[in-house]
């Protein structure tokens, strides 16, 4: 399987890359690791006339801590996230999530920015970025702005990115020491994509759940933050009945996807189950 013909550009600055997007309009697509875009191009599900490769632009990858925030460059690979000592220490949810993406070769090549910008409804990373309350930095011809993760995902493979904008980095808060995190997913056997994936980060204070973020992928047409679940846990003791009642809220206001791998009803069931599991695992970690 070979993609249709296209022109290939390798800008060396962000400004040049944005300029290329402006001049080619919707005919151009940005490529990072290419592990979402190239498979779609082979199947002709995407047929850009111009590819703008970001790999020659300096400073788009790497993980840094600055002033209570961790910044991750958009071209940082899943393997770099999985193996980052800084993240394992300050934000274990991301390594926990990155470790179960695809397989070793895919993690070597696929990038965090590519996964977020592609917005596959079954991708893993978006759930964790949502749970963490992350922000995405977007550069366009007239803009250089932060977008809240919750405002970024608009629908099936649709984001707040305009055709001439590029996602450049992701910012997440450094978590306190009493925080526990977990990413639990039911993987589709062949592809490893999430049939349902749930990311939880929670903080305990005096036996109560003081801080909570829950991100869900795979269930609906876009990844989302499960506010209903969060409300059910906030300032409560995490007893089994509380966890079960909160988890039962995960599919509220969501129209579950349905395909050969799982019916809508089964997906919603899995979402409730895996939400509860992720909360239990995160709570165990927070209590250590």
């Amino acid at each position: 399987m070979i993609p249709a013909s296209f022109d290939y550009l390798t800008p060396t600055t962000l400004g040049e890359a944005v300029e290329a997007l402006v001049s080619h309009g919707e005919n151009a697509r940005v490529i990072a690791g290419g592990h979402s875009l190239l498979p779609m191009m082979k199947l002709r599900l995407a047929r850009p006339g111009v590819l703008v490769d970001l790999s020659k632009i300096p400073d788009l990858s790497g993980i840094q801590q600055e002033n209570g925030q961790i910044t991750i460059g958009a071209l940082t690979t899943h393997y770099e996230i999985e193996s980052s000592d800084l993240l394992k220490d300050k934000c274990p949810l991301l390594p926990q999530t990155a470790r179960v993406i695809g397989d070793a070769q895919v993690r070597n090549r696929g990038t965090i920015g590519g996964s977020l910008a592609h917005a596959d409804p079954a991708a893993d990373i978006p759930a964790s970025i949502l749970a963490l309350g992350g922000e995405l930095r977007v550069r366009g011809p007239d803009s250089d702005r932060w977008i809240q993760a919750e405002d970024f995902f608009l629908g099936l493979m649709t984001t707040a990115l305009k055709p001439d904008e590029i996602l450049t980095k992701i910012r997440i808060p450094v978590l306190s020491d009493r925080v526990g995190t977990s990413y639990q997913k039911v993987a589709q056997k062949a592809s490893g994509f999430a049939i349902v994936g749930v990311a939880v980060h929670l903080g305990m204070d005096g036996g109560l759940c003081a801080e909570i973020g829950v991100g869900v992928t795979g269930l609906g047409s876009k990844p989302y933050r499960a506010r209903g679940v969060e409300e059910g846990l906030r300032n409560r003791r995490l007893e089994p009945s509380v966890i079960e009642a909160a988890s039962s809220q995960v599919a509220q206001d969501v129209d579950p996807l349905e395909d050969i791998h799982a019916s809508a009803e089964f997906r919603a069931h899995l979402a409730r189950l895996y939400t509860a599991r992720a909360i239990v695992e995160a709570a165990k970690m927070a209590e250590r």
């Binding site: 022109d7 190239l38 397989d103 070793a104 070769q105 070597n108 090549r109």
Partner: protein, 160 residues
């Protein structure tokens, strides 16, 4: 047709250079232009791992990388693993432990295992299975492959 580009890729220590279409996949560059056919084409959808090669020290699926993306970079294929007539410990171990039957998946499997042992010189069975998750074998049932990787890990540690 889109404009072609001249690219230069170092493969197994040898500089190669060709005029290519941007849509040419790295696996076809390696097999058809450089004529190193040890790298296999399997599913072409980044699932099976038969086309695995090392790109700048990281195992990747060469069916899902454009040749132009590897311009100026270094590639290691199965042909570059042995030292002359001396097989690499992984190649020896796959042979001795019966880590292959038909051999189609073997070049990719060995390079994934190579990646794993570079990162984890003393892997557990679980870590080996996680490490070769991206490579499908339809013959062996994987047990002999895991045995081979374990044996090779011991030999590679002993050589250091």
């Amino acid at each position: 047709m889109a404009a072609t580009r001249r690219i230069t890729i170092n493969i197994n220590g040898v500089s190669t250079s060709h005029e290519v279409e941007p849509r040419l996949l790295l696996v076809h560059y390696i097999r058809d232009m450089v004529e190193l056919t040890g790298t296999h084409v399997g599913c072409e959808t980044s699932v099976c791992g038969a086309c695995t090669v090392m790109l700048n020290g990281a195992a990747i699926k060469s069916c899902t990388v454009l040749a132009v993306q590897a311009d100026g970079e270094e590639v290691l294929t199965i042909e570059g693993l042995a030292q002359g007539e001396q097989l690499h410990p992984l190649q020896e171990a796959f042979w001795e432990c019966h880590g292959l039957q038909c051999g189609y998946c073997t070049p990719g499997m060995i390079l994934s295992a190579y990646q794993l042992l570079l990162r984890l010189p003393r892997p557990t069975e679980e870590e080996i299975r996680h490490g070769i998750e991206g490579n499908l074998c339809r013959c062996t049932g994987y047990q002999h492959i895991v045995d081979a990787v374990q044996q090779a890990a011991g030999q590679m540690r002993a050589r250091r």
